[in-house]
Each structure stands twice: as structure tokens, then as C-alpha cells.
Amino acid sequence: LEEPLIFEIADNQTTGVDLPEVDAGAADRLGGMARDADIGLPGLAEPEAVRHYTRLSRQNYGIDLGFFPLGSCTMKHNPRLNEKVARMPGFADVHPLQPVDTVRGALGVINELAHWLIELTGMHGVAMSPKAGAHGELCGILCIRAALEARGDAREVILVPESAHGTNPATAAFAGYRVEDIPATPEGRVDLEALKARLGPDVAGVMITNPNTCGLFEPDMRAISDAVHEAGGFVYCDGANFNAIVGRVRPGDLGVDAMHINLHKTFSTPHGGGGPGSGPVVLSKALSPYGPLPYTARTKDGVVHLVEEESADEFAREHFGGPLSHFGRMTAFHGQMGMFTRALTYMLSHGADGLKQVAEDAVLNANYILRSMEDVLHAPYAHSGPCMHEALFGDKGFAEGLSTLDLAKGMIDEGYHPMTMYFPLVVHGAMLVEPTETESKATIDQFITAFRSVAERAKAGDESLKTAPHYAPRSRLDETAAARKPVLAYTDPQ
């Protein structure tokens, strides 16, 4: 399983395209900037290129190959219809700056998806342009900041629970806020009293994940929201775990002001080895006027409009009775159209009934795993009641010298992608398992058998786990060496 680098098999004379031999000098209006140096790009004919990438692909694990129990990442099946729809010429072969009369269908997709997101979350508005979850978080926090500034209220602090995703504090800091932790209760939930005690005129808002990263629903959510609002702040909810409640609970009913939605999680646009994603942000009535440009709006005549710099003020005056207080633009163009088409296709396929079933099956699968494992693995919050769509375990009881990492790598040899490791930080050697709703009982039963067996080996001190995986394309890789003297690009041999 050794596939050379393209730089090792290709040359600068081979090409996999047929283009005319143009005499570059013939028509040079490059104003003296014409390139003379070689770039150094390797080329392959199509047969070799297809083979190179096909072989490379086979060193990857993906949902199409097996179960991906990755907590807080919702790696579910990616329907192939979505891929087909995204490639329809009217979506894929359309320029973002075409005259709006030539893209009414594309705007219709954005507007229809926005409607679904608003209805599913019980919110008032949605900003569609953020490019991914973290970008959406930034959007939400900026909306809060814009709303506060609009009332002349400079606040400096965002409260974040210690169990939060790393993006939460990073985002708050990126937006110029100071980040303070909120402690957790022994049951794995936000400590309401501690939170209330910290609230005050300097707190712009809180960032909460619900269901939280321990896999638990925050039963005090409504109370938290009320307390924050009363103190003049806003509630940001991290939407990474929306899969647990979609169709069953609406964040808007819990007092949330802003929540990003990872279309590549709950709404199944493929993860693609790291992206692209899409992170629309649903907004409460209080925050809606402060969302970014551009946005779409359907007027009473049924026409979907694209509102961007060109028309924002005019449109707002005409339809909302005044200029909008948008906070600006977060990205060029209008957002991740390719993800919008996939997500809308997925929503229409499931429908309101199907999405409710999604949440129920996801939660059912997770609780089934929790209850099937708690006798062999430490499950710190198993006593707190049912989990939501993910089950959390810790490394308590492992033999000396064996770690969560070893167990995870052992799962690779069993044919599974490892669970999320060492997150959330509040549990020692945490393992967060999210089965999603697209796995069958048979698959989950097989996984439980394998998971139990590897857990027993970790408790019994099986040394072979320390060098796992043994049956993967590579054995453990030296990450320290990689970071100590980084080799980040190919260098031609001398």
C-alpha cells in the first residue's frame, strides 16, 4: 500500500488534457508580467491520474465502508440523490453574479431551505452565508455584538462551559470578547446557580451546547435563557448536536437567540475529508435585524429577492419600513449553494415526520449503546438519566499504561473508525460515541461486541493495544517528529 507522490511519478511534459499549443508570445498584453520561470507542476495522463487517486482513496476509511461512531460530528449516511441534485446544471453551472432574473430557482432553494431551518428551530430569521459551523458561530456572536452596540451597550465577556467545543472560545476571542468558563455539575450539566451568580452588565452572552457535549439535554435550558436575558445578554447555542432533537424540540422554544446549524452534520451533506461545510445561523426576533448581507427574502407576490449591498437599504425601506442594521458581509457571494441543494434535498426526502424519526432513532441507538456498555466501561453520567444522541465513557478501570488512545487504535483493527477521544475535557480519557440514525441494529450489535472486547483488553492490560493498529494502511505515525521539523511541501531531490 505504497502510493508514490505525484511529484515522484509525473513530469512537466505530460498532461491529461488536450489544449491547443498557443504561442504564448503571440498575443501578450500581460504588461510585462509574463512568467518566465517554471512553476514545477507535475502532470499525469488521465489513466495514471485516475489510478493514482483511486489507489489513494483506498487508504481512507469513510461512511460508505463502515460505522463511524464519532461523537459530536454526526457522521451519517450521505444520500446519493443529494449528489445528483447538486450537479444539476441550474445549480452547478450558475455564476453568483448573474442577473437575479436568471437565478430565481437558485434563490428559491436558499429561501426554501431558510424556511425549513426557521420552522425546525422555531426561530425568527436565518443568516445563510456562513461557510461552516465555526464561521456560523462567528456570525452569531457578531450579531450579538451588533445588537448590543446598536443599543450602546458595550459588554466584554462571553461565558462558555468548560465542556464546550474548541471553536466556541476561539470564536468569542476572534470577535474581541474575553472568555470565561462556566462550571459543570456532577451530573454533567451547566451549573445554573454558578451561571446566575456570574451574570451581570459586562456579560454579552453565553455559548451553550444543547444537547451538551456530555450527550445530555440541559433541562434548565429555559431557565438559563431567562436568566441571561434578564441580565441583558444573549444566548448562543452551538448547533453541532441538533441531530438529537431535530423535529422533536425547537431551540426557539428554549429561549435561544442564535444557533448555527452544520448542514454537513444534521442535514447530511458529506464531510468530504474535512469539508466543505455550511453553517447557517438561525436568529431570534431580537437578533434578526443584525444579520449579515446578503440574504434572500420572499415578498408577498411570491418572488424571492436577493438582498445585497446594491439593494439592501432600498429593499428594507420598501418591505420593512426602514434601513436594516446588518453588520456587514462575512464572505464573497451568497454562501454554500452546493450544500444548500443537498440539505434541502435531504429535508424534503425525510419530511417533518422523517426528521422527527431521525432524532428518535439517533437517541435510541445511543441509549442502546450506553446501556450495552455501562457494565464494562465507566459511564460517568449514566446515572443522570437517558443520554441524547451520544454516549460518553471514560478510561477509569483501564490497566496501567493503557489509554483511551490505545483503545481507539484497537477499534481500527476491528474495522471501525475510532470514537471521539479526549473530548469533552471534563471526563478523563473521554470516549464519545455517536451512532446516528443511519446505522442498523445489526451494525450496532456488531460494534458493541467489538467495543466490549477491546474494552476488556484495555482493562486486562493487553499490551498489543499499545502498538495498534496492526491491520491498517499505516501503523502509528510519529506526530511529534512531524511537528518538530515540519515538512509541509514536497522538495525535488537534489
Binding site: R29, I39, V50, F91, D93, G105, Y368, I412, P486, A489
Partner: protein, 455 residues
Amino acid sequence: MRYLPLTDTDRSAMLDTIGASSVDDLFVDVPEVARLDGPIRDLPMHASEMAVEKHMRSLSKQNLAAADAAFFLGAGAYRHHVPASVDHIIQRGEFLTAYTPYQPEIAQGTLQMLFEFQSQVARLYGCAVANASMYDGSTACWEAVAMASRVARGKRRKVVLSGALHPHYAEVIKTMAKFTKDEIAGSEPSIQAQPDNEGLIARIDEDTSCVVVQYPDILGRLPDLEQIAEAAHAKGALLIAVNTEPVALGAIKSPGELGADIVVGEGQSIGVGLQFGGPYLGLFAVRDPKHVRQMPGRLCGETVDADGKRGFVLTLSTREQHIRREKATSNICTNSGLCALAFSVHMTLLGEKGLRQLAAENHRLACIAADKLAAVPGVTVLNDSFFNEFTILLDGDARQIVRDLADDKILAGVSLARLYPHVDGFTGGLLVAVTETTTEEDIETLCSALKEKLS
């Protein structure tokens, strides 16, 4: 419910194991006020694949696809022919449905591809190191500004923007600066044949963290980056070069060799397609390896495994949010991985030879278009020099003319008024982009239509 494998029999058996009488028992923590009593009203019920496909197709058909028009739009998004094998590769389940490669033993496919991608981008940009991608060109551009501020340790607060930076990119920077309190020294482009380098250089001072220059610029002109780099470096500022058309770099010098310190851009032209604006591909590279630890985003590096075999891992992640939380260089997590794959496959199919031929063909056709348009009464070509996009000035309202021509399936370009709605004097300006997908017949069609409109 074709994506849900559990049967009712399975569900009962699993509830038994859990010890719950119904799935409602699993949602006990939800406050009663927030429990929904059935599927959400106002949303439709589930539908067959056939019905959904039909609905989406009808929406698709309400759009005028570029292939069905004479097409001249650019302004940061270019239509190029993408080989069919690119789409085949990115639909391989092992690439499409893979996760972020945090488990390198079973993600070498993605990781080696990223290493190759980084190497290709670094060479194209004339830089030492490129990262594993950002969301798109505009956000990469903002991240570069933020990075420059980190390099200056927050001691320089002024960001000098070229007037000819893509207005959306400038907007993103201005938006973010409202919160970070950077001072933005920007301007609008001046409608002249050459970019105003002197004016730009005059705005650089000792408080400037960076100068941001687009190359080719929004009007299609080719600013002399070398001159600007020298001026910036003389004041201790970094030069950020922005490129929205990577194909151009097959014909013109790379920003790195001209002295840019950070090079960012939009990679959509290679492999990704138009897609109504997203997903696109943010490219990010630095000329000097010493700046690597201030870079945002993921980096893939070479290493060895326990058996001594070469392998690849995500590295230097102490810069990133999942390790460093509020001290991270960026909050970015998900990037444009699959678009990076598409870029890399397409670039491998092109190779040195193909990219240069592609660039030459683009330029050749653009020169033809410029000459033919210049011959149309009422049309003036602004640019002395350009790659595959240039500005023309019409004796008329370009925005309205673009809208009118669309009725005849001519997508004539991007009007300056669309990009700069609040600037006066841009009424007649129109950006015209020409690529290898443009035929000489398309050019004739545009010229005839303009001739008629302007007479």
C-alpha cells in the same frame, strides 16, 4: 424513510434493552413546554426520491445555466472546463464520506492528497508553504489580515487595502475590522488603464501591518507587485497578494517571486466550478517558512509510521482551536477539503504543460474579445494589460444592459454598479471575462448585441 434502517421490531427490542417503555422516555429531560406533540406543522411529510428529484429539477430549470448562454462573467468566479474524471474521483465514497483525518492510520488517502495539494499551491504561488485550504478567497483574505496583525504582535493597527481589491473581499475585511478595531485604509478603484500604485504606496506608514493588493486586480489590471512589496517592506509591513484567478498564474509571474509575504486567493477556477458562489476553495500560503506558526487552518506534514514507512499527519495543530481554544490562530475547523481534492486532481491533469496552455488560450481569446469589443461604437476598453478579464466602458447603463441581454441568453459580464452600488461614475463600467469555454461565436454574439443596444 429510505435512509433509516431500524425496523419497528428493532426499535422494540432496543427499548427493552434500555429499559424504556417508549422513545418518549428518552426525552424526559426536555421541559414539557418545549416538547412538540407531532411533526412540525407547515412542513411537508416525507417524499419519494422521484418526487424530490422532480421538485429540485424544476427549481434548477428556473435558472439560466452558463452552458446555455454566451457567458462573460468573472469578478472572482470563473467558468472553466473541468475534466469529467475530477468529478468521478471526488465522488469516490472513500473521499466523499471520510472525516477530517484526525486518525491518520486510516486517512492516508486524504492526507497524502492534502500534502500534494499544499505542494501544488505553494509552487503556483511561489511560496514555501501552503495550508490545507480555507473556506474561500474572501475569508482567506481576512485571515491573512488577521495573521499580519499577529505577526506585528498587535502593535500595528492599520490595514492598507488596494482600491482595486474585490469589493466583497474588502467588505469582509471591513466587517471584521469593526469588531477587531483594526483601522482600514481603503478606497474605490479609479477608472484608469493602470492601477494607482503610487497612491497606494503613499498610504503605507509605520503603523501599517499589511498592504492588501489583488493581482490581477478587480478591473483585470496587473499591478506591479514588486514595487509595492519593496515599499511595504521598507515600512516593516507585510504584502498580502490576493489572486482570484489561479489560471492566470500559468501566464504571469507568481506573487511569491515578486515579494508578497502572504499569498491568498480563490481556487474555484481549478476543479470546482461556478456553483452559484459556493462551496469554493480558499488558498493560503506564506513565502517565508518562519511565518508558518502564525498561519491559520490545517497543515499536513510528512512523517514516518512505527514501521518506518512514509506517512502523513495533520501537524502544528497547537495553532488550532481544538487544542488551543481561545488562543488559536483562527476559529476555522471544517475547511474545503473536497474542493482541495478537486483542485489537486484537475491540477495534476493539467500539469505544468496543461496549465500554461490553458493560460495562453485564455489570454489569446481575451485579446480577441478586447479587440472586437473595442471596435463596437460606444464601447471603450479600459485596460492596457490584462489576463483573461478586462473592463469596458459603455455609453449607457451597464447594469440595465446586462439585465436586458440576459433575456437573449447573453450573460454579458459583471457591471461595476453591481459591485459598487454606492459609488457614482461607474454606471458604464462592465467587467468582461473570457476563458477557454468562450467561443469566438460567443464573442461575436456579444459584440452584435452591444452594437444594437448602443446604437
